[in-house]
């Protein structure tokens, strides 16, 4: 579980996070939704210490991450997998080397053991025969899957994904969503997904947090989302005709 207490983050005059308190549960896919520019990425990067928060606390299973130094954070970081919006694969390394990268850094495994683990992770995301290729030679959806394979290489307890569906066609997007949910259940990870893809919200949204103007505007499951009368939710989600119809049908 990850718990966040009243975190604030500004860039100059731009007060992006204005005191968010919430928690993300283990074994669930936790979704952060909100308009583009609402601060989802800043929020996620703040949880990970890629941005230092101005105030507030972040607990990874009761370990106060926000108070730790770079070196003290290392133990927690080894339990974190992150999939960046643009995949952020190392473009000078092959696909296999990308997945092996964290293993080389943090384990003393032999190269055979590392290869075996990398192959396992690549198979787990349904990628085969791409080991020797370079990231630029793969499609966006395949790159995303490599990024997921790299993120799970160290068997993380916490998995973060920043808009894993952006730039993907709907069919590939669903494949990625299902994969994320399966992995979450299989390894009982605390998974946090930034998204503005409403399809993902309905498919895998077990714990959804809506961010609006730097604050948490709503939190609940996808079932609750269909029935809530929270104006921010109706404004954000049900501005789409399709979702208006879904809502009508479900009520």
């Amino acid at each position: 579980m990850i718990r966040v207490e009243d975190i604030h983050k500004s860039f100059g005059d731009n007060h992006v996070l204005k005191g968010i308190t919430t928690s993300f549960e283990q074994g669930k896919t936790n979704l952060i939704i909100g308009q583009s520019g609402s601060g989802k990425t800043v929020f996620m990067k703040s949880l990970l210490g890629l941005h230092e928060v101005d105030s507030g606390q972040i607990f990874f299973d009761d370990r106060d991450f926000s108070k730790m130094s770079f070196d003290e954070r290392k133990d927690i970081r080894k339990e974190i997998g992150m999939v960046f919006q643009g995949s952020a694969l190392f473009d000078s390394l092959t696909i296999e080397e990308n997945v092996i990268f964290p293993l080389s850094m943090f384990t003393n495994d032999t190269i055979e053991q590392k290869r075996e683990r990398a192959n396992f992770c690549l198979q787990r995301v349904n990628l085969e025969n791409v080991n020797e290729r370079y990231p630029a030679e793969l499609s966006g959806g395949m790159q995303k899957r490599v990024a997921i394979a790299r993120a799970i290489a160290m068997n993380p307890k916490y998995l973060f994904l920043d808009e894993p569906n952006s730039g993907l066609d709907p069919k590939t997007a669903i494949v990625i969503d299902n994969l994320v949910q399966e992995l979450t259940k299989e390894y009982q990870m605390t998974t946090i997904v930034n998204t503005h893809d409403m399809n993902s919200v309905m498919e895998i949204g077990e714990n959804i947090i809506l961010i609006k103007e730097g604050l948490k505007a709503w939190q609940g499951s996808n079932d609750e989302l269909l029935s809530t009368n929270n104006p921010d939710i109706t404004d954000f989600i049900f501005s789409s005709k399709l979702f208006q119809r879904i809502r009508k049908a479900s009520n």
Partner: protein, 246 residues
């Protein structure tokens, strides 16, 4: 941002670069990768430039010493001095600043804007050290070799002129080149080279590491890396020369 904040941030970055490295085996692999990528590929241009500039320097020396009372071996002596003291360490370092500096800045800058640096940091790896230290060490290793090659090929360029043109005799030229050799000149040149190598790697890495934005900014960082490396090298060249030779 003004010069002062840049300088401050540059030294903070260096502090991060030299904080304890992550894992020796990984650094060793990165070091050899960089030597290969940054250094080996520069030998061609260094040899090419050195032969031609060496030849030109010798011809200029010949025309300047166009006095029948001054023997031809002075051409060798003068050419050797220009090449060892100034051309090889300084000019070649400036050329390397263009070639290697832009490469380092665009490489690190691209990693920054595509979140590859975030990906390294999120794993708990000190990205400044992991990315920059191997590059600095690689240049400290490879640049002196390049400069020594430049000296040899520059002097060789002057010999070619003597051998294949009637301007002066190659034999006299060589006797000048080997006359009253001053070891300290080589040491002086190498000291400069080490400083310049460090400047090229660290200034360019700084420009890349703090890139903000997208592809266009990566291009700008790369240009700035070359410009600032050159400026620092030129100023440092004067300071070091005064300190070491006076």
């Amino acid at each position: 941002m003004n010069l002062l904040t840049h300088t401050g941030r540059y030294f903070l970055m260096l502090g991060k670069v030299f904080r304890k490295p992550e894992k020796f085996s990984v650094y060793r692999d990165m070091f050899f990768r960089e030597v290969d990528l940054l250094g080996i590929s520069s030998f061609g241009i260094v040899v090419f430039v050195s032969v031609f500039v060496g030849a030109a320097v010798a011809v200029q020396a010949a025309f300047n010493i166009d006095d029948p009372l001054i023997p031809d071996f002075y051409i060798g002596l003068a050419t050797r001095a220009s090449i060892i003291l100034e051309f090889a360490p300084t000019m070649i370092s400036l050329i390397l600043a263009g070639k290697i500096g832009s490469n380092i800045a665009s490489n690190i800058g691209t990693m920054r804007v595509t979140e590859q640096i975030d990906a390294i940091e999120v794993m708990g790896i000190n990205s400044a050290s992991y990315l920059i230290l191997p590059k600095i060490l690689a240049l400290l290793f490879i640049n002196p070799l390049l400069i020594i090659f430049s000296m040899l090929f520059g002097i060789f360029g002057g010999w070619l002129v003597g051998e294949f043109t009637p301007i002066y005799s190659a034999v006299d030229y060589l006797s000048g080149v080997t006359m009253e050799f001053e070891d300290f000149h080589i040491i002086y040149a190498l000291i400069k080279t080490y400083f310049f190598a460090f400047v090229i790697a660290s200034v360019s890495a700084y420009q890349g590491y703090y890139t903000k934005g997208g592809a266009i900014e990566v291009g700008k960082s790369s240009t700035r890396a070359v410009v600032y490396s050159i400026i620092v090298i030129i100023v440092l060249n004067y300071i070091l020369t005064q300190l070491l030779l006076s």
